[in-house]
């Protein structure tokens, strides 16, 4: 770790779910400690049930943790903050708004003036390649295009940190690869700090600077892997020796995490 103050810090974070009234609460996350540097692209990976999505929701302020805290620029996250952008796994694009309406939703909610909103719409719809579809309703768009709208909408809100919860989980492999490239391009432009939840090894390696491997039941940090592959990364990266080596390292880390996981 370097001397820079972390963008996001998670300290002593434990979370329990009360499944049924009578039973013991289930510990889904146990004593998580993480520091995420500004501008870093970090993935959280782990088998299903390791609490990675829960961790992300806690980081966003959508869910208050049972114990511990998340710090954003040294300040405790106490609730939802538009500075912490969130991309959901499900299709969360508002179907009753056009592409344009979706992109300017956040700025409008924050009271950004009309002219500036128009500029944001133009810029971000171009960045995700949807300039021609600005007036279209989501029902006319494919799943991949809706995800582009979702990304443009979040970026247009100029967040400081981007939290993404398996955003491409529902897409086919080809579309997924294209969208990963889109995310990297947007990220290169904005240099946001990104926390990306996935269960896909290739995705984690392709996107990240750092991959946090979680063990399950209860969810805890098993290992932290640095991915040193040169940037910018492109389709050729996926077949490079560095990529395969990084993937193997991550695979080993995941095997170790699986061995740690409870039943």
């Amino acid at each position: 770790m370097n001397v820079e103050a972390p963008k996001l810090a998670i300290r002593g974070l434990t979370h329990r779910f009360q499944i049924e009234a009578q039973t013991e609460p289930l510990t889904v996350l146990n004593d998580i400690n993480l520091a995420i540097e500004p501008g870093q692209f970090v993935s959280l990976i782990g088998e299903s049930g390791c609490g990675k999505s829960t961790l992300l929701r806690i980081m966003s302020g959508l869910l208050p943790p049972s114990e511990g805290e998340t710090l954003h620029d040294g300040k405790r996250v106490a609730g939802i903050d538009p500075k912490l952008g969130f991309v959901f796994q499900q299709d969360a694009v508002f179907p009753w708004l056009t592409v344009e309406g979706n992109i300017e939703y956040g700025p409008k909610a924050r009271g950004v003036a009309k002219a500036e909103r128009a500029r944001l719409v133009e810029h971000w719809s171009a960045q995700v390649g949807l300039t021609k579809f600005r007036k279209a309703y989501p029902k006319h768009l494919s799943g991949g295009m809706r995800k582009r709208v979702d990304l443009a909408r979040v970026f247009a809100n100029s967040p400081d940190v981007l939290l993404m919860d398996e955003p491409f989980g529902a897409l086919d492999v080809q579309t997924k690869h294209v969208m990963q490239q889109v995310v990297l391009d947007l990220w290169r432009e904005t240099r946001n700090t990104v926390v990306f939840v996935t269960h896909d090894l290739d995705e984690a390696v392709f996107l990240s600077d750092v991959v946090v491997v979680l063990a399950a039941r209860p969810g805890r940090v098993a290992s932290i892997i640095r991915v040193g592959i040169d940037r910018p990364r492109n389709e050729a990266t996926r077949v490079s020796d560095d990529f395969v080596a990084a993937k193997r390292e991550l695979w080993n880390a995941m095997q170790a995490a699986r061995a740690m996981s409870g039943n």
Partner: protein, 271 residues
């Protein structure tokens, strides 16, 4: 599907072509079939033409009623009642339905009441309304409003209950406050329910209208039908019934088109 022409059609030809679309053709056919069946019965030997008038006789009566101005007066009177009753009933229903469906507190408070009202037919209130309010215009409007209220309140509540959590969360993480979430997420996603409720309400409104106009109404289509029955003028009664059908379906079409415009974003099943 209609045949897609290779040569560009003139405007007129296109309009004529539109009349022969299967939707309109088949729709007209069902009505024609009922009229034809009725006609067959009406002209059977032994059937009294004074009591079972033939379609030409009914058409003539329609023309007479139209020329005398009676039909217009009665239609307008009924339409006014339905509209006023509809506006009052649906406004109160939407307000209460939204409260019950959106806010947990108001839901706990209002749901038992709404669910208790659901099985009660609006016509059951008629004797009470007469006793309490009298037999004037307010009674008739109250009965229509009560009839409109039920489908509206149930749909407004359902619309709010069915707002997808994902959209609420998405709006909140983008920085929307509670009020904005209501206006920009809950309201638009409830619109399809509201439209459905209002369309149902419109037809129950007409249902209640006839009943309401049985209460010593001086005008109205319900009055016209009731009055005609007393004088064995079945032809006038049928004209009244047909006009209710026509006016009701025109209003329903208007509501449908408005609804389609307001929900043009929604995925529509095309059968």
């Amino acid at each position: 599907m209609s045949a897609s022409p290779s040569a560009p059609k003139t405007d007129f030809a296109a309009r004529i072509g539109a009349i022969f679309r299967p939707s309109i053709l088949l729709g007209g056919l069902s009505i024609a079939l009922v009229v034809a069946l009725y006609w067959l019965v009406a002209t059977r030997p032994g059937v009294n033409p004074a009591l079972v008038p033939t379609p030409p006789r009914i058409a003539l009566t329609f023309w007479e009623e139209l020329r005398s101005g009676e039909l217009a007066i009665n239609t307008w009177a009924s339409l006014q009642r339905v509209m006023i009753g509809f506006i009052i009933g649906s406004a109160v229903a939407v307000l209460l339905g939204f409260l019950a469906g959106w806010f947990r507190f108001w839901g706990y408070f209002l749901n038992p009441l709404i669910d208790a009202i659901r099985p009660i037919p609006a016509l059951a209130y008629i004797p009470l309304v007469i006793v309490w309010v009298g037999i004037g215009e307010p009674s008739r409007i109250i009965i229509i409003a009560l009839a409109v209220f039920k489908p509206c309140v149930v749909n407004a509540r359902a619309g709010m209950q069915e707002v997808a959590q994902i959209y609420v969360d998405a709006a909140r993480v983008l920085g929307a406050g509670k009020v904005r979430v209501f206006w920009t997420v809950a309201l638009p996603s409830a619109v399809p329910y509201l439209i459905a409720g209002m369309r149902t309400a419109m037809s129950t409104g007409f249902l209640a209208l006839v009943a309401a106009e049985l209460i010593a109404a001086p005008t109205g289509l319900g009055f016209m039908i009731q009055n005609a029955g007393q004088y064995f003028r079945t032809d006038i009664a049928i004209v009244g019934i047909v006009v209710i059908g026509i006016v009701g379906s025109i209003l329903d079409q208007l509501a449908k088109v408005t609804g389609q415009y307001l929900t043009k974003w929604a995925e529509v099943r095309r059968s």
